[in-house]
Amino acid sequence: MRNYIAVVFDDTTKAYEGLHALWQLDDEAAITVHGTTVVHRNDWGEYNVDSKDTHPALATAVGVGVGALLGALAGPAGAAIGAARGAAIGAASGGAVGAVADVARADTRDESRYETAWVLGAGQSAVIADVSEDSTFAVDERMRRLGGSVYRRAYGDVRDDKWFDDYPYDYYLYPYEYVPPYSPWWAY
């Protein structure tokens, strides 16, 4: 089965460990990873997405796209909120997304309908990935050992969202393990 997953960690370094572990699982052929990105929320509540794009307009586009994906992971209602917030904040700062998950979670009716409803708290980071997995065990177990919480939504369900055509989510995920040069991961 193919799923979009969000793995939430309490700090940035752990998130990069989680990213690395996902690609390791792929290397072991336990899963197939189609793309990944890492999203951070700082202590002031602002979101940032890891991106190579140095052009402000392109970094903003990534922010908007990943914002929509975060919303989509929280359910169809979240996608609208995610895109709107991502556009608003991304346009101002580049590569940032809005507080989509918090807002989506406030809608308890939608929360109960979807496997995935999650909040990225201040100071937390999340690995977002598109994966094919025969069972959820490999990812769940490896991420649990790293202290991460895994949330999933079926790829097919996300594709069925009306927002999918506007935001080609695959495009915003790196198809290999990308860790930005300023990451604390490199200190280890």
Binding site: E28, T32, V33, H34, K52, D53, S132, D170, Y171, P175
Partner: protein
């Protein structure tokens, strides 16, 4: 821990396609002449990936073959947009680079789906026994 699997031709093709995407996105992050110099190498790399895919297709299952055929089409587009891009400047160059990245991304996606199809096939066959 799963058994370590011997990587086959499709895994190597995937690594080559990932490397190609990485090279193009790194080039896109550079400015002016440096970006163009890097983009000049892309058509050759894309051709090598295409040849590699064509050489590995015969031994794959039907689902993987379908994805690999689509990957070839996207790599041919990558080749074309990169070759066209080096002849342009300014906004046109930027557009060509974005298009080249999008094509390369789509190609990696298809190869990665071929890898998933290949990995799923033995498990499915085993479940039927």
């Amino acid at each position: 821990m799963p058994e370590t699997q011997v990587k086959d031709a499709v895994d190597h093709v995937r690594a080559a396609a990932q490397e190609l995407h990485k090279a193009i996105s790194d080039a896109a992050a550079k400015r002016g002449g440096a970006a163009k110099a890097d983009l000049e190498a892309v058509p050759m790399k894309a051709k090598a990936a295409i040849d590699s895919i064509k050489g590995s297709m015969a031994t794959q299952n039907a689902a993987a073959k379908k994805h690999l055929s689509e990957a070839v089409a996207f790599l041919e587009a990558t080749q074309k947009h990169a070759a066209d891009g080096v002849k342009t400047t300014g906004k046109e160059f930027q557009t060509a680079v974005r298009q080249t990245i999008a094509d390369a991304r789509a190609a990696v996606q298809q190869v990665s789906e071929a890898v998933a199809a290949k990995r799923t096939a033995p498990a499915t066959a085993g479940a039927r026994k």
